[in-house]
C-alpha cells in the first residue's frame, strides 16, 4: 500500500497539452524533450480507427525499473511521497534507464549530458498540493489522489511488457469506436500501419561506441581463452592490452558525463550494466597481471570472461522483448564462442554454431523485412561472409585473410543487432 497516484480519464482528454505547459511553469523549461507528453494512439488519423490521447510523464512505479537498473545509483525513492526521484549530479548519462522505462519518463538532455524527469512535484506534494499538471488540467481529465492504494490491485490497461505497478489509474473508455464517416472519401489511399514512424531509441549509428566495444570484447575473450597470448611476444601482448584500454575508453564515450564513468560501478547489486563494468574491470586486471606480472590460473580468467559475456548479453535483455526468438545470432556469447572456435581451429564445431546462427539470422531477417535496400545488402554480405569463410578454409588460404572475411560478417551481424534492439516505449503500448 502506498499513497499518491494520478487518475487519467481518456474520455475527457482532448490533447490540449496544458499539462505540459503546467509542468514547464512549475519545473522550468525543458529542452529538447518535455517531461510530460500527450501521446496519440492514432497520430496519422486512420479513418477506421479511434484516436485517444494519453497524457503521461513518470508514473513513479512501485517496481521502478529505471531505479533498479541505473548503474550509477542516480535514482532514489522519496520516503515521504513515494516519488521516484532522479539526481542529475549522480547521473552518468548512460541512458540505460530509458531502455527500461515502458512509459518513456526519463528524458535525456544531450546538452546537459544527463537524464531529466518528472519529480511528482515533490515540493507540492509535501504541502498536500496536487502536482501542477493534474491541478491545472482545464478539462479535468488528469486528476490526482492522495489516498492509499494497493498498486497490485490496479488493473492497468496500459500494455507494458512487465507490470511496473505504476501510480496511475486509467479510467475506462466509454466510446471505443472512431466516429462514423464516409469512408469512400479515402478509398485508394493505402495505409501502412497506424503508427507514425518514430525514432527508435537505440540504433547502431547512435551506439557505435558500444558496437566497437562489444566486438573488441568478443575478440579479446576468445583470444585470451585460447593460449595464443602467452606464447606471443611482449609487443603483441601490449597491443592486446591497448585494445582493451581502447574498448574501455570507447564505452565511456557514449556517456553524457564520461568523467563520472566510475559511478557506473555503484549498482552491482541490481544493475547488469554495473556488473558488466565490474567484470570487465576484473577481467582486464587479471589479464594485465597474467601477461605482465604473474601467471593467473586459466579457469579464473575464463570464468570472469564468461561472466563478462553473460553480463553484456543480460544488459540487452530489455530489448529482447520484441525479438522473435529468445536468443540473437549476434549475441556476444555467440560472437566470442565463434572467435574462440576459429582461433582454436575447431572448424567442425564452428560449422555447427554458424549454421545455428545462420538459422537465427534468417528468422531475424524475415521479421525485419526487406524494404530497406541498404540493410538487405548488408544481410546478403553477412551470409556471403560465412560462405566464403568456409571456402577459404577448405582451400587453405592464409589465416589473416580468413579472419578478415569472417570478421566482416561478424561486424555486420553485431551492427544489425543494435538496429534490431527495441525497447518498451509508450508509443508501442
Amino acid at each position: 500500500m502506498s499513497a499518491n497516484y494520478f487518475i487519467f480519464d481518456e474520455n475527457k482528454c482532448v490533447g490540449c497539452e496544458a499539462c505540459v505547459i503546467a509542468c514547464i511553469n512549475e519545473n522550468g523549461f525543458q529542452h529538447p524533450e518535455t517531461w510530460r507528453n500527450v501521446h496519440l494512439s492514432n497520430p496519422q488519423k486512420r479513418p477506421d480507427l479511434p484516436l485517444f490521447y494519453l497524457s503521461m510523464s513518470c508514473n513513479h512505479c512501485e517496481n521502478a525499473v529505471c531505479m533498479d537498473n541505473c548503474p550509477a545509483l542516480a535514482y532514489s525513492r522519496s520516503i515521504i511521497t513515494g516519488a521516484v526521484l532522479h539526481h542529475q549530479e549522480a547521473c552518468i548519462g548512460c541512458q540505460y534507464c530509458t531502455w527500461h522505462c515502458p512509459y518513456d519518463a526519463p528524458k535525456y538532455n544531450p546538452f546537459a549530458g544527463v537524464i531529466e524527469k518528472c519529480n511528482f512535484c515533490e515540493a507540492r506534494l509535501v504541502n498536500h498540493q496536487e502536482p501542477a499538471c493534474a491541478s491545472l488540467c482545464p478539462t479535468g481529465a488528469l486528476n490526482f489522489s492522495f489516498d492509499e492504494i494497493d498498486k497490485h490491485e490496479i488493473k492497468s490497461n496500459l500494455e507494458t511488457p512487465i507490470n511496473t505497478y505504476p501510480s496511475i489509474i486509467i479510467k475506462e473508455t466509454i466510446k471505443e469506436k472512431a466516429p462514423e464517416t464516409d469512408k469512400s472519401l479515402f478509398s485508394g489511399t493505402e495505409i501502412s500501419g497506424h503508427k507514425a514512424k518514430q525514432k527508435p531509441k537505440i540504433t547502431a549509428k547512435k551506439e557505435w561506441a558500444l558496437v566497437v566495444f562489444t566486438l573488441i570484447i568478443s575478440v579479446m575473450t576468445a583470444i585470451s581463452a585460447q593460449d595464443i597470448l602467452n606464447k606471443a611476444e611482449l609487443k603483441t601482448k601490449l597491443l592486446f592490452l591497448a585494445l582493451g584500454a581502447m574498448a574501455a575508453f570507447l564505452s565511456s564515450l557514449h556517456l553524457g558525463k564520461p568523467l563520472r564513468a566510475w559511478r557506473a560501478l555503484l549498482n552491482v547489486k541490481k544493475s547488469w550494466l554495473s556488473r558488466e563494468i565490474l567484470f570487465f574491470t576484473v577481467y582486464y586486471l587479471l589479464i594485465l597481471i597474467d601477461l605482465l606480472i604473474i601467471q593467473i590460473p586459466k579457469p579464473f580468467i575464463i570464468l570472469t570472461a564468461l561472466l563478462l559475456i553473460l553480463s553484456i548479453d543480460k544488459l540487452y535483455q530489455p530489448a529482447q522483448l520484441y525479438w522473435t526468438t529468445k536468443i540473437h545470432s549476434a549475441q556476444l556469447l555467440f560472437l566470442s564462442l565463434s572467435y574462440y572456435l576459429m582461433s582454436s581451429k575447431l572448424y567442425w564445431l564452428l560449422l555447427i554454431i554458424m549454421m545455428f546462427r545462420l538459422y537465427l539470422f534468417a528468422k531475424q531477417s524475415l521479421k525485419a523485412g526487406f524494404k530497406n535496400k541498404f540493410k538487405l545488402n548488408l544481410r546478403i554480405l553477412r551470409i556471403a561472409s560465412i560462405f566464403f569463410t568456409g571456402i577459404l578454409l577448405i582451400l587453405s588460404y592464409s589465416y589473416p585473410l580468413i579472419i578478415t572475411v569472417f570478421s566482416i560478417g561478424e561486424i555486420i551481424d553485431r551492427i544489425l543487432f543494435y538496429d534490431e534492439l527495441e525497447v518498451a516505449t509508450i508509443n508501442r503500448s
Binding site: C16, A18, I21, I24, N25, Q44, P179, T181, T189
Partner: protein, 690 residues
C-alpha cells in the same frame, strides 16, 4: 487601497483576474504575485464555465509576462535598426508628425488601426483621443464573425444563447464547423457530461478535429457548401414531417415561403454539391428531426466565406423548424453577447460604417480589404498609421498587399509587446501593457460573466498603458484641458477605477470590490436565452424570411445556398486545393506563438494534406513543399493526414510571416455577404514538392 504597489514586499499575493484575449472561453483565473512578478497561475472555480482552469496559452502567461523578448522601452527605427529612446523624445516625434500630417493633408491622412488583441472598456479611450485629434481614417467591419452575427440577428433579433453549462442537458449536440477542443476547450466539459448521459454528438467539418474523436458521426462536406447540406437536411425533415408545427405556428415568420424555396433543392444534386452521401444527409435529418433537445453549435470559420451569412441562416433554420430555441438543452449556439452589458451599440451593428456619431470623425475602410483600400484611398492619401492591439500584416487578408500599403506610408507607430511582423514595419514602437498591468472590465461572447481583469503588477520596464500614452500625447499636442479631462483618464490607478466605476454604477449588483473577488453573472442574464419567446425582429417572430436581409445586404430574403467566388467546382484549375486556415489550440491568432513554451509544442508551421492528395503529388511526411496561388507562396513542411477530406489542406493561422507560415500570404481580401465580415477562407491553392 486601490493602488497596488508591491515593490517593497516579498509576500505572495493571490488575485482574481480574467483573460482578455479574443476567445470564447474568457477564463477566470487566479494569479499569484511576488515582488512585482507573476509567479503562478491557478484555476478559479467560481466561474462555472471554466472551473477547472485556463488553457495552455493562459498558463503560458507566466512566460509571456516575464519574457526577456518583450518590448519594454520606446524604440525608434534608425537606419533599419530599433534604438531605445526616451518617452519624451518618442512623444515629441509623434506629436510633430501628427501635427505635420494634419496640417498638410488633413487628419484623415492618418490611419488608426486597432484589432482584438486585448479587450476591455478602456479601449474606447483610443477613439476618444482620435476624435479630439480631429478624426482619422479607420476600419469598419471585423475579421472574425460578423456574417454569422448578422445572420443570427436577422433571424432571432439578437445574439445570445443558453449558458455554457446548459449544454449538458442536450440530447443531441451538433458541432457544425466548430472545434471547441482547440478554440473553446471548456465547452468540451459539458459536451462530455451530456454524452455520459447518453446524448449524441454529430460533428460537421471537412477535418477530423480533436472535437470529433468522441463523436457518433463525422460529416465532412466540401468547404463553403454547408448551406446546401443544411437546406437538404431541412427538406428531408419537413418531408418526413419531423418539424415542430406548433412552434413554427407560434413563433416563426416565413415558414411557408421557406418550404416553397426548398422545392428547388434536389437531395441527389445537393449531395453531389456538398460531397456528402445521401445516406449521411438522411441520417443527419433523422437525428435533428427526432432527437430533442438539440443544441446546434456553429463555428466562425465557415462564415468567413463569401456566402457566410446565408450559410449561417441555412444552418439556423434547422434549429428553428425543429423548435430547438429557447428551451433547456436547446439553442442556437453562435455568440452569447449577454455579458456585453456596457455596449450601447452591440455587434454586429457596431461594425456598420455608420454616419451619425462618428461623422466627421471617421473615414472608414473595410478591414477585409485593408491593404487594397489603404493603397487606393485618395483625398487625402494615407501618410501615417497608428496600430495598436493588432498585427494586420500577419492577420488581415492578402499579407503582400497589406505589407505594400504599410511600406508606402511615411510614418508608422505601433504599440506592441513583441516584435511582430507589423512592429517590424514601425518607425516608432511604443511598449504595450500586458493584461496584468492595468485594470479593465471585460465580457465574453460565450460565458455569461462580467469580469475584472485586475492590475496586479506595476508595468515592467518603461511600459505605459495606452490610456497613459494618449494622455501624455494629448498634453503634448496641447488639446483643450477640459476635453482631455472628459475623454482620457489621468494616468493614475484611482482615475482608471473611477472611469470603470462610471459604468459599473449603472448596475446594482456590480462593483469593483465584488469583481476583484470573483466573476459576476451579467445583470439581466437569461440562462435559457429566448425562453420568453420574444424576438427583436421587425415581425417579432423568428424570421426565416427577412426583408431586412434584402434591404441591408441585397441577399435572398430566405436562407439560400450561394456559390463561392473562388472555391466552387469547375473553376478549380490551376488551384484545386481548398486552403483552410483555422485557429489552433496553441495560439490566439498571432499571439503566444513566439513563446518558448508554446514553441516546444508547436515549433514550426506545417501544411496538413490528405494522404491521397500527397500521393498524387509525390509528397511524403515532412517533405518541404511550396503552397501557392497567384497571390503568393509559402515554403513549408508537409504533414500527412488520413482523415481530412481530400481536396482540402490546412495551415493554421497565427504564424508570423517572418516564421514563414502566415496563410494570409495566400488569402484574398473580400467582404462576406453580410455584416462586413472577411471572407478570407475562400482561398484556393496548389501544392508542389520542392
Amino acid at each position: 487601497m486601490a493602488i497596488i504597489k508591491r515593490y517593497h514586499t516579498t509576500a505572495m499575493k493571490t488575485y482574481n483576474t480574467a483573460c482578455p484575449r479574443n476567445c470564447y472561453s474568457t477564463c477566470s483565473f487566479k494569479v499569484i504575485v511576488e515582488n512585482n512578478k507573476i509567479k503562478k497561475i491557478e484555476p478559479q472555480a467560481l466561474n462555472k464555465s471554466t472551473p477547472e482552469g485556463i488553457c495552455l496559452k493562459g498558463l503560458s502567461y507566466l512566460e509571456r509576462a516575464n519574457s526577456n523578448e518583450r518590448i519594454l522601452y520606446p524604440l525608434q527605427k534608425i537606419k533599419g535598426e530599433f534604438i531605445q529612446i526616451s518617452w519624451d523624445k518618442a512623444l515629441s516625434i509623434i506629436s510633430e508628425k501628427l501635427n505635420y500630417f494634419k496640417s498638410k493633408y488633413g487628419s484623415h491622412s492618418v490611419l488608426f488601426y486597432a484589432a482584438s488583441g486585448m479587450s476591455g472598456l478602456l479601449n474606447e479611450v483610443s477613439y476618444n483621443f482620435w476624435r479630439l485629434y480631429g478624426g482619422t481614417t479607420t476600419v469598419y467591419g471585423n475579421l472574425c464573425w460578423p456574417a454569422g452575427l448578422e445572420a443570427t440577428r436577422l433571424t432571432l433579433g439578437e445574439n445570445k444563447h443558453n449558458v455554457p453549462w446548459d449544454l449538458e442537458n442536450a440530447e443531441l449536440i451538433v458541432l457544425w464547423g466548430k472545434n471547441p477542443a482547440e478554440s473553446n476547450i471548456h465547452e468540451m466539459i459539458p459536451i462530455e457530461k451530456a454524452q455520459r448521459k447518453g446524448a449524441k454528438l454529430v460533428v460537421i467539418n471537412p477535418r477530423r478535429t480533436p472535437s470529433s474523436e468522441r463523436a457518433d458521426m463525422l460529416i465532412q462536406p466540401i468547404p463553403g457548401t454547408d448551406a446546401i447540406l443544411a437546406l437538404a437536411t431541412a427538406k428531408i425533415i419537413i418531408q418526413k414531417n419531423y418539424h415542430d408545427k406548433e412552434f413554427i405556428q407560434n413563433y416563426v415568420f416565413g415558414f411557408d415561403k421557406f418550404v416553397k424555396s426548398l422545392e428547388k433543392i434536389n437531395i441527389q444534386g445537393a449531395s453531389k454539391e456538398c460531397g456528402v452521401p445521401v445516406s449521411f444527409i438522411e441520417k443527419l435529418a433523422e437525428y435533428i428531426g427526432n432527437i430533442k433537445p438539440m443544441t446546434l453549435i456553429a463555428g466562425y470559420g465557415m462564415q468567413r466565406y463569401t456566402n457566410g451569412g446565408q450559410t449561417t441562416r441555412a444552418l439556423l433554420a434547422l434549429s428553428v423548424i425543429t423548435g430547438n430555441i429557447g428551451k433547456k438543452g436547446a439553442c442556437w449556439h453562435y455568440a452569447n453577447l449577454q455579458s456585453y452589458v456596457f455596449d450601447t451599440v452591440k455587434e454586429p451593428e457596431s461594425y456598420y460604417p455608420k454616419k451619425e456619431k462618428d461623422e466627421p470623425f471617421r473615414r472608414a475602410i473595410p478591414t477585409a480589404l485593408l491593404g487594397e483600400k489603404m493603397l487606393e484611398i485618395k483625398n487625402p492619401k494615407l501618410k501615417m498609421a497608428w496600430v495598436e492591439r493588432g498585427n494586420p500584416i500577419t492577420q488581415n487578408p492578402d499579407s503582400k498587399q497589406t505589407l505594400k500599403a504599410f511600406k508606402k506610408l511615411e510614418y508608422i507607430v505601433v504599440v506592441e509587446q513583441f516584435m511582430t511582423d507589423t512592429a517590424m514595419e514601425a518607425d516608432i514602437i511604443l511598449p504595450a501593457k500586458n493584461m496584468f498591468e492595468q485594470s479593465d472590465i471585460i465580457g465574453s461572447y460565450w460565458n455569461p460573466y462580467v469580469q475584472l481583469k485586475q492590475k496586479v503588477i506595476e508595468p515592467a520596464g518603461e511600459v505605459k498603458p495606452e490610456t497613459e500614452i494618449y494622455y501624455l500625447l494629448a498634453k503634448k499636442l496641447g488639446f483643450n484641458e477640459k476635453e482631455i479631462k472628459n475623454n482620457i483618464p489621468e494616468p493614475k490607478d484611482t482615475a482608471i477605477e473611477n472611469w470603470l466605476n462610471k459604468y459599473l454604477k449603472k448596475y446594482s449588483n456590480l462593483s469593483l470590490e465584488k469583481l476583484k473577488k470573483q466573476p459576476v453573472l451579467a445583470p439581466g442574464l437569461e440562462e435559457i436565452a429566448f425562453a420568453d419567446m420574444k424576438f427583436k425582429t421587425p415581425s417579432g417572430k423568428i424570421e426565416l424570411y427577412s426583408e431586412q436581409a434584402v434591404k441591408i445586404w441585397n441577399v435572398n430574403p430566405l436562407p439560400s445556398y450561394e456559390i463561392l467566388q473562388e472555391g466552387q467546382k469547375g473553376k478549380q484549375k490551376p488551384f484545386p486545393l481548398s486552403l483552410m486556415s483555422p485557429n489552433t489550440k496553441n495560439r490566439i491568432h498571432s499571439q503566444f506563438g513566439n513563446l518558448k513554451s508554446i514553441k516546444a509544442l508547436d515549433p514550426y508551421p506545417v501544411v496538413i494534406i490528405s494522404a491521397k492528395d500527397a500521393k498524387l503529388r509525390g509528397i511524403k511526411e515532412n517533405d518541404k513543399v511550396r503552397v501557392f496561388n497567384k497571390r503568393g507562396e509559402i515554403f513549408i513542411k508537409a504533414k500527412l493526414d488520413y482523415s481530412i477530406r481530400p481536396g482540402n489542406v490546412v495551415i493554421v493561422n497565427g504564424y508570423w510571416n517572418k516564421e514563414g507560415g502566415s496563410p494570409n500570404l495566400l488569402s484574398k481580401g473580400r467582404e462576406t455577404d453580410m455584416g462586413h465580415g472577411t471572407a478570407f477562407h475562400d482561398n484556393m491553392v496548389e501544392i508542389e514538392k520542392i
